[in-house]
């Protein structure tokens, strides 16, 4: 029976990037990537809002996102693999309160050379017809909506095509000789004594034990190193062997409305902010629902990452909820953007965030010979390349990973034991 050098469980964007980078830095390694679904990224990756930004306050978040996005730019511009990157920017609409809280953070970032542009309410209304003041709107006040005081545009941000990104990593991994097996669900991580005695109920707690691979619906896979990159499903594999990864699943929903009216077309295809030919990814003040432009399909994606009391729950087929749109998202966004009046979603989808509930940043660690990479908490796509490189460095036993652009990153900074991550102050 073949024993792989590395078995990567989960062909979402994190698993793919991990498998590819292991194969890149260790070309002779026999690497198998398995996924329970029929193709790459069908768990949560394909359900993402597929946007990215390179402006973060946390050093960790910045290093991961900026280097990953620079790599995606390199893939598209230098390697000529089209990822449909669109530098539409992020447009953050703040109420007065939030703006004043954010100002020192933004000034601090500006002093380090980060770029952003600021717009006042009048400019914003003129550019995109956003309603900025709800003093005359009793309903909006009852809903607790925040007025728009300022807009902050982050230019180094935008949209990406997830299918293309998945295809890039998958094809490159295969080109390097990696193996991929879909429709292969891992049912159990296999724990074995290093010196089996052939007695009933092994391993016993006094034995020296190791991870030997995984049982799958297609049979046992033996591997020297098993790497869990199962995203929102990670704890289902780790809890049974008592390994804590601090990842919980939470449903996220996206509703797509067609830009059928002239007003919506003007909003979607505005050139007022960047030359990307569409609206930036736009976040309203409070609650911070957002619009993700989807110019290729003449649509606007509407979403909100709700927290309490949204359940932590692993679901194989999370469904978008009609009431979430009708009484939640629509009610909020139509107040800011009256252009949305009477819009019904023509399609909707839901996926799972894999949330690291400790600090919201990725976890990449090894414990008892088992590796885990995940917990990107909703920014897996924009950080996947860096996560893959750091996981590959951990696999190779290196102290530092080399992110794209030759940036050194200390592997243990994302581990559990000597974790060293800066909290993020710029959150949606």
């Amino acid at each position: 029976m073949v024993e792989y050098d590395a078995l990567v469980i989960g062909a979402g964007i994190v698993g793919l990037a991990t498998a590819y980078h292991i194969k890149s830095i260790d070309p002779n390694a026999n690497v198998l990537l398995v996924d329970k679904l029929a193709a790459a990224g069908q768990g949560s990756t394909a359900k993402s809002a597929a946007a990215f930004r390179c402006l973060f306050y946390s050093r960790t978040n910045f290093a991961l996102a900026d280097s990953s996005v620079e790599f995606y730019r390199h893939v598209q511009d230098d390697l000529k693999f089209d990822l449909k990157l669109r530098w539409a920017g992020y447009l953050w609409l703040f109420d007065e309160n939030e703006y004043h809280k954010m100002l020192p953070v933004l000034k601090d970032l500006a002093s380090k050379g980060f770029q952003y542009r600021e717009y006042d309410e009048g400019e914003l209304t003129k550019k995109i017809g956003v309603k900025t003041n709800f003093a005359d709107d009793e309903e909006a006040c009852l809903m607790g909506l925040g007025n728009v005081h300022k807009g902050i545009l982050i230019p180094k941000a935008g949209l990406i095509d997830v299918d293309s990104l998945l295809k890039f990593y998958e094809s490159e991994f295969l080109k390097l000789g990696g193996k991929v097996q879909y429709n292969t669900e891992v049912t159990e991580v296999v724990v074995e004594p290093r010196q089996p005695l052939g007695m009933p109920g092994e391993p016993y707690f006094w034995q020296d034990i190791a991870i030997a691979g995984a049982k799958t619906t297609k049979g046992l896979v033996r591997a020297k190193k098993t790497i869990i990159a199962a995203g929102a499903w990670s704890s289902q594999l780790l809890d049974p062997i008592g390994v804590e990864c601090f990842i919980k699943a939470r449903k996220r929903q996206v509703f797509s409305v067609k830009a059928e009216t002239e007003a919506l077309k003007r909003l979607l295809f505005t050139r007022e902010f960047t030359n990307a030919g569409c609206l930036p990814f736009t976040i309203v003040p409070k609650p911070s629902a957002y619009i993700r432009p989807a110019p290729e399909e003449d649509a606007l994606w509407l979403a909100y990452a709700d927290e309490f009391p949204r359940a932590y729950k692993i679901e194989d087929n999370p469904e978008p909820e009609e009431n979430f749109y009708r009484y939640g998202l629509y009610q909020v966004l139509v107040k800011y953007f009256p252009q949305l009046m009477d819009c019904q979603p023509f399609s909707a989808f839901a996926g799972l965030y894999e949330i690291n509930t400790v600090d919201g940043q990725p976890v990449i660690f090894e414990e008892n010979g088992l590796m885990v990479a995940g917990g990107a908490s909703g920014s897996g796509i924009m950080k996947a390349d860096a996560i893959g490189r750091i996981a590959a460095a951990l696999y190779k036993g290196e102290e530092h990973a080399l992110l794209f652009g030759d940036r050194k990153f200390k592997v243990s900074d994302l581990g559990l034991k000597n974790r060293n991550v800066e909290p993020e102050k710029l959150v949606i």
Copy 2:
């Protein structure tokens, strides 16, 4: 419909102490304690090894355990409520390696006035017939057992009767006018908008929402404050409303063997260490299985808190495993204590630790108006009084709790946001 001031969910030792201390510091509060089982402490408390120690390295652990145990002493000696405290001590057997690692910790503690006594291998063999060197035992070497280099006796430690402790808190809580309702399972924590609109699917994410109580198998219970003290079951109530408590459940098993032979009777009733009339709670070097004397029932309880790959799993009726005793516990302990040769357990029980997987220390926090007290990670009994006082202080909105003996404890130190706990260096 009656609205309680406080609803405490879970009548294990933590829930009972919490309910009692809330009622103590707020006598007019209308407090209801519910539990799904038929009596107090039937979840995990009654399945505990029921031992305590007051020697910890961590300031947090020491404050919680020492003040709780001093309170139990006060209950027994001053209030004349018999908790069957027995100051049998803890006897820690170390191999050379562990001993040298522990030495600076112990010396540091000694310099702060903590008492302990040290025994060398010869003394230990003479006193309790422990085998200290396995150089001649191939099997023991294969099992990786540690030799006994030194024994450290902690005198301020011992045994307690859990039923009596439960009875104390329950009767005092009832005397103060608290209400207890057993056979009442909470099925759901109730989340409501503060200003209901009477529309389908409320609450919406833009509404101001609050916890209104809990649905139970005996009907809805409304309360101004809901407090989860459901131990290992806490996440089953919290995950559905998206509140993270960082508590996971892990099975723990205790096997009781009768001291039927003369050699075992001598071991159980030894007076070589303390005047408690029995063996100390004794931990062998590696793996650190332990013997908890149960002199009232002429028995020795044998146990081991196994970690990887022991599952994190919530079970309503955890069962002790025959193989865990036969091939695990017995094999290890009989090597150190040949007196145990051929011993079969005459009874066994299993319960769940409610482990805080972040740092192993209790969590007491309020989030979105919901309180949580738990995560004592296997030392709930020896810390329950302090946990109850801190939870009651949080309930009252106080910055500090007053532990028994007038020790001030900052409530937020055990919270999630400004958590401030010292790691423990003296672990079993």
